[in-house]
């Protein structure tokens, strides 16, 4: 049996009187690519924000698998940085790079939570600290090579082409060694060529055993990548299943056609 690594149950989030998430259940198993889809405003990003500790959910359980102890631990009440340290890394729908830092430094920041040099270490530059620094640079370098951004390594992040910025977000998240990688609309705003490259990249990352949960509007991407799909509308889960099941699900078709008629 597959090991579930993220287990969310009964997740509810209220903003004032508005219920943005309503009793949501969701599971991701080890090594899986799972997609979360739904019309605009369905609550997908809110879900990410709750899971990563940026919002405090009103109700519900969020558990993440801890390999070292072989148990699930609850992420409730943790600050975003603690959630990341537990092994949940994300990208952002609107790119949020450290725009004045170089590409390499952006990735190096991702290593922050896996290292622990202190002020004293920074001042004294003892052997341990320097080894750690070398290791940070080394790993970041390798990640950039894998993601295909190595030629931009010393560029300022904001000078990168759009598609490369999106990939850099992924690289940065990978540097935190996540148990589960959350991608928030990784293909948004990309042209078809860039999207194809992105699909290949995600597949490559997944082939190394990385579990991925992604939000995406590009149905071709979702259908070709994901093993399972969750569909949300108005804060509720309206369907889940394999791509084929979702494609023929009447509730999903209604939710999406409804949107198209509106638009």
């Amino acid at each position: 049996m597959q090991q579930p690594i993220l287990h969310v149950s009964g997740l509810t989030m209220d903003f004032g009187g508005i219920r943005a998430l309503n009793n949501l259940d969701l599971d991701v198993n080890e090594g899986e690519i799972v997609a979360l889809i739904g019309p605009n405003g369905a609550g997908k990003t809110t879900f990410f924000n709750c899971v990563t500790g940026i919002y405090k959910p009103t109700k519900g359980e969020i558990d993440l698998y801890q390999k070292s102890r072989n148990t699930m631990i609850s992420l409730l009440g943790m600050k975003p940085n603690q959630v990341t340290a537990q092994g949940l890394a994300r990208t952002f729908q609107n790119i949020r790079l450290f725009s004045q830092m170089t590409v390499l430094e952006n990735v190096m920041i991702g290593r922050h939570c896996r290292t622990k040099a202190s002020i004293l270490g920074a001042l004294l530059r003892d052997k341990k600290t320097m080894q750690e620094e070398d290791q940070i640079i080394q790993i970041s370098h390798e990640i950039l090579t894998k993601i295909g951004l190595i030629r931009y390594e010393n560029e300022i992040a904001s000078n990168l082409p759009y598609g490369a910025q999106r990939r850099l977000e992924i690289a940065r998240a990978l540097a935190t060694e996540p148990v589960l990688l959350l991608l928030d609309e990784p293909a948004a705003g990309m042209n078809p060529q860039e999207t194809i490259e992105l699909v290949n990249l995600i597949q490559e990352i997944a082939s190394e055993g990385q579990s991925i949960l992604l939000i995406e509007h590009d149905m071709k991407l979702v259908m070709s990548l994901s093993e399972r799909i969750f569909v949300m509308d108005y804060g509720k889960k309206i369907a889940q299943g394999t791509p084929d099941e979702i494609r023929n699900n009447p509730a999903v078709i209604k939710a999406y056609l409804g949107e198209e008629v509106d638009a």
Binding site: A89, Q100, T102, G110, H112, I119, I137, I156, N159
Partner: protein
């Protein structure tokens, strides 16, 4: 650029400013003697000044726009000045720092005691600037009450000496640590706030410290201040005033070097990167696993530490301190140094401090306009050159990896 249209625009601008500044610049009244003084010449100066400045303003705006579109195409090659490339080369860097050090060593022997004393003050501001640079430049936290930590350091020494006769060398770390402690105590509640609130709260905190010092007579001796503070000792040797000032100058040179050394190391460390990331994007920073509070507190405490250290030296140098030395103006001067030099740039801050402290001293006629100029500098730098005169450049890294030596030429 001197088309008729442009001249017309500048003319209108100058008419507007003549109107705008009319009551303040032209009229001066005495409500007791009941006299009015009309300074019509000022109309002319304002008109002429704003006419010229409006050309300059438009020219600079155009240049800035052109530059930003340039940079998009050419990457960061244009962003690096001659000086940067020059200083990036370690060979030149050693020459520069070596000659600066040589100048510092012979300086008091060439110039008068008075000049040396001014230079000591300038060096103190270099350290203050580098300290605030950690907070504002690296971590992006606008601290407008930085002078409070400076005051904590100065009063630590003054009062320890006054009440317990404690010497400079014991007070020095004590002042720094106490200032850092204040930084942490203030930081814990305040650093949760958004940037602009932080600015106001730190401003308020700076004022509170000053007001307490002024009003709590038994503790701080109130507005009259603490006098007869001992100068730093040197293995118990008695020194004449001149020798003591010389000694403080050299101490200050050493402190500047130590500060540069430490700040440079901090900036290039794991913590330094976290500060800059925090400045760039708080949410993304947290999502990358960085503890926002701890990182901010570290910046705040370290910045405060340096202010405290300089405070102790200040008290020892002047031998007299009062709350008047620690007004908001001091914070504003230090902020101007950081902004002019370049936020996040060590070399920039050093130059900024030397320019802003030495220039008004040597141009006595202009010293009256000092704060006016500082205000204008803050606005102009932000509008036209937010990176400062010598902006920081991001470090590039080399690899131990044998397969891929660092061959990238930037």
């Amino acid at each position: 650029m001197f088309t008729l249209e442009e001249i017309k625009r500048s003319f209108l601008v100058s008419v507007w400013f003549v109107f705008l500044t009319f009551p303040i610049m032209v009229i001066r009244v005495d409500s007791i003697e009941k006299t009015v003084q009309w300074r019509w010449m000022n109309v002319f100066w304002v008109a002429l000044g704003t006419f010229v400045l409006s050309f300059v303003f438009r020219y600079m705006m155009r240049r800035k726009e052109m530059k930003s579109s340039d940079e998009d195409e050419q990457g960061d090659a244009t962003g690096r000045s001659f000086l940067h490339r020059w200083l990036a080369d370690p060979k030149y860097r050693y020459i520069v720092f070596g000659s600066l050090l040589a100048i510092a060593i012979i300086f008091p022997h060439v110039f008068s005691t008075y000049q040396t004393s001014i230079m000591t003050t300038a060096l103190m501001y270099v350290v203050l600037g580098l300290g605030l640079n950690i907070v504002v430049g690296l971590a992006g936290l606008l601290d407008l009450g930085y002078v409070a930590f400076y005051a904590v350091g100065a009063y630590t020494y003054a009062l320890l000496h006054h009440f317990f006769g404690i010497g400079f060398w014991v007070a020095l770390p004590a002042g720094g640590l106490l200032a850092a402690l204040f930084g942490i105590l203030l930081g814990i509640p305040v650093l949760r706030l958004r940037g602009d609130y932080l600015a106001i709260v730190t401003l308020g905190f700076g004022e509170i410290i000053r007001l307490v010092l002024e009003n709590w007579g038994q503790f701080s001796q109130g507005p009259s201040g603490v006098s007869n503070i001992a100068r730093p000792g040197f293995f118990g040797i008695e020194m004449s005033l001149d020798t003591a000032l010389l000694y403080i100058f050299y101490l200050m040179v050493i402190f500047v070097i130590v500060t540069i050394f430490f700040v440079n190391r901090l900036q290039d460390s794991r913590l330094g990167r976290a500060w800059i990331a925090l400045r760039e994007d708080e949410i993304a920073c947290q999502a990358m696993g960085i503890d926002k509070m701890r990182t901010k507190l570290a910046a705040f405490a370290l910045g405060a530490f340096w202010a405290g250290i300089v405070g102790v030296i200040f008290a020892a140098k002047t031998t007299f301190i009062s709350p008047r030395s620690f007004t908001f103006i001091e914070s504003a001067i230090i902020l101007s140094i950081v902004v002019l030099g370049g936020m996040g740039s060590i070399i920039g801050v050093i130059f900024g401090a030397l320019i802003l402290i030495l220039l008004p001293e040597y141009l006595r006629a202009l010293s009256e306009y000092r704060m006016l100029a500082f205000g204008a500098i803050l606005v102009c730098m932000m509008v036209f050159r937010p990176q400062g005169i010598i902006g920081s450049i991001r470090r590039t890294y080399t690899y131990q990896n044998k397969k891929k030596p660092d061959t990238k030429v930037s």
